[in-house]
Symmetry: C2
Subunit: 445 residues, 2 copies
């Protein structure tokens, strides 16, 4: 299929990738994100949306599967489609999972839950699992700008890889995944739970796509570029189709994904970093600040404008003003820094009202290759300071160290009420030795 | 919620509808479409796409559920989500299920499989089932122009009704359904199986939405009209939002749906009827015809232009030229009239090439309230004939009689290799007495 469409080229590459073809730094980074995602799933396992989805799995799925479901209220194993439906939700709900800069998508929260559940079902090895996850990142992040829509095709490709489908079947899996692509953002306006539905369903639907492709269900052959396909329908005006299969096997999308250090929408991170740097450098305190102007890119304005003042903890993480207020007051914006009490804190709400966002043409033109931010702080004293960051903490150019990832994982586990620290030690050890694992069960159980 | 959004109004109505509120003609029509859909599911149960989806249900679902799965290769009961996943596919694949004119959607193939599977699971009565199906038609057909996207919210509403959710929970179910709405039409270009994936997944996703709403998962409150919701994203430019809750309980969408008499895309039906009338009136035979011009509406041109010459039986049903060739040669276009051999019939293919479609401004402006068609036939003798139909056979204004529905059902069952005619008699009898049923199991088993 080398002379075929870009989608055929991508599917062929995905079917044929072998562990030995993956550079070691990509393997290591994949393990970093895997552990990072497990921590997120543990942290999110008590959320009501996760619990509701787990109850659906109990009612509609089998109770004798091999895949482990990470839910706070229930502990059971089921089929991979249902385990990943729930784990895709739990790993996304605390907003601490990774972000792939160029595609503006969260790959980890869909790729790892789906590939882990399928690998547990098939008794795949650590090497096979890593390879499937790398495939999932490649297919998911190459072009589309949404966790749900890019995610479902990434999951289909990763699952197809674990099922050892050939190129033709992989193409069908990607096609059937793409035809189900969905994920409207209306939820952000009223603080409802769809964001977790999107990731969980991307897992489920992608697993469905790959399994049904194996069993003879044909998917459209050109779901990325065809005239009635994802490109035209979901990203009208996109003029970069060559990204679909450019430098396959040379550049790896895993290397372009970013950790989230702060526990808020990733679009707030450059401004948080800039503000924290500014306050430290100039010895400015929370109470000294009269107003903040953040200069950012259009995509940030689009997303951060939707959630109003933030009526819930989750929604408040999408308010630039509130996130900067938390960071300014607490000196950081980690998962434990966003609480119910903070939502009613008058000082924080006042600060929030004194933050404005402005479009910056230079920052906008560099986006999404670079996620930059500038903040301009006016103090009550009349003093004015400006600070910019070229990269946010966690960006590919400024990644977390393994020690920081371990610290973050432990914090996430505690947040999720998972107080067995020796089990967390074991999870961390297994993650760092993932390529030597022979069976991926028991990661949380 | 009476003073709320249109979506809230619709959800409140859906939650509160009772069997006694439904006019008898609507009840009778609902039973007509129910039997019609069962026949379609039996006819489609051997299709490879259906079999692949059934194997997914076997692998990922439980084997001890109460809902019956209509598949040719496997006979088992499972959870309602999986039973309807498969039955939503089998009831759509032979292209004989109903068509709701104004919304251009196929409601029966999603509403009945989902509501039947849930009703079997809950042991709902015939009256409760009919009420839920009427709710499903109302919510699904009120505005959106696609079986998959309108279907999933209809299924959510029907399921919510059977689960006896209140208005607030029903609103969540509709919201969670809508945020999953998907269904790209790329499949038509290469004769792949996505059309069945769309209907089956609409069932699954809608059942998920209603169950998770019951268990506390919040869906967006204004998924139909909100600024990041279905209206803006899926039907940009639609200026008819008041249709969402107009005349609820007065006009019923069930009454506006059409049977498919011919076994082809519904957009070909007005032309087929006009051609058959013309040939009969003027004593014109297949071999007499030099060329055919069909004058139609833009939506027909959009859909029927996608499938090329039709390389498979399914795809050939979307070619106006091929469908008219079959009708002209065989005097009808029933399910048994489309065969593999016909695809290689030179006379049919030649006829196909001599059919052209033209946009007719008057017909277009009346669409989709009226599905009209005009054909102009030029004979080899030089004679020219024109014939128009205002309604196609099966339209609300020209519905099938119960005798015709029974005939169609028996033909569909034979096509599906279901040769137990006494069981078909029983199914027909049960359908006509549906409101008196106390348990909806055993309809096909």
């Amino acid at each position: 299929m080398v002379d075929g469409t870009r989608t055929e080229h991508l599917a062929t590459w995905a079917a044929n990738l072998r562990y030995r073809d993956i550079p070691d730094d990509v393997v290591q980074k994949t393990k970093d994100f895997f552990l990072d995602t497990l921590g997120c799933a543990i942290a999110g396992r008590h959320h009501p949306a996760v619990n509701a989805m787990a109850r659906f799995a109990v009612q509609m799925g089998p109770s004798n599967g091999k895949s482990e479901l990470i839910d706070g209220a229930l502990k059971f194993t089921t089929s991979p489609a249902f385990a990943s439906l729930v784990n895709g939700a739990s790993s996304h709900v605390v907003e601490q999972d990774d972000l792939h800069n160029r595609s503006i998508m969260h790959p980890a929260t869909v790729i790892f839950p789906a590939a882990l559940a399928v690998a547990q079902d098939l008794k795949s090895s650590g090497e096979e699992f890593i390879t499937a996850c790398v495939v999932g990142y490649e297919v998911g992040c190459r072009r589309f700008h949404s966790t749900a829509t890019g995610g479902v095709i990434g999951v289909a490709a990763a699952t197809a890889h674990l099922l050892k489908l050939n190129a033709e079947q992989t193409l069908s899996a990607i096609g059937t995944a793409g035809t189900q692509a969905a994920g409207l953002w209306q939820f952000l306006m009223d603080a409802t739970h769809s964001k977790q539905v999107h990731t969980g369903k991307a897992c489920f639907d992608g697993i469905f796509a790959a399994h049904s492709a194996r069993d003879g269900l044909l998917g459209p052959r050109d779901i990325l570029e065809g005239p009635k396909a994802m490109g035209v329908a979901l990203v009208p005006g996109d003029t970069n189709p060559e990204a679909i299969d450019r430098n396959l096997g040379v550049d790896f999308e895993v290397s372009r994904s970013s950790f989230k250090w702060h526990a808020s929408c990733r679009h707030t991170h450059p401004s948080v970093d800039a503000l924290l740097n500014l306050m430290k450098k100039n010895n400015v305190g929370f109470d000294d600040i009269e107003s903040v102007v953040t200069r950012t890119y259009q995509a940030a304005l689009n997303v951060l404008g939707l959630s109003g003042r933030g009526e819930t903890v989750h929604q408040s993480k999408f308010s630039m003003g509130f996130v900067l207020a938390i960071a300014a007051k607490k000196g950081q914006a980690m998962i434990t820094d966003f609480t119910e009490e903070d939502l009613n804190d008058t000082a924080l709400r006042d600060f929030q009202n004194r933050v404005t966002m402005e479009l910056d043409a230079d920052i906008d033109s560099a986006f999404p290759e670079k996620w930059q931010g500038t903040v301009i702080v006016t103090c009550r004293s009349g003093q004015k300071f400006t600070e910019s960051v070229e990269f946010a903490k966690g960006d590919p150019e400024l990644p977390l160290t393994r020690e920081e990832i371990e610290r973050k994982t432990r914090a996430l586990a505690i947040y999720g009420g998972f107080d067995d620290s020796s089990k967390v030690d074991e999870i961390i050890k297994r993650a760092w030795n993932l390529e030597h694992e022979r069976d991926l069960r028991g990661f949380v159980f």
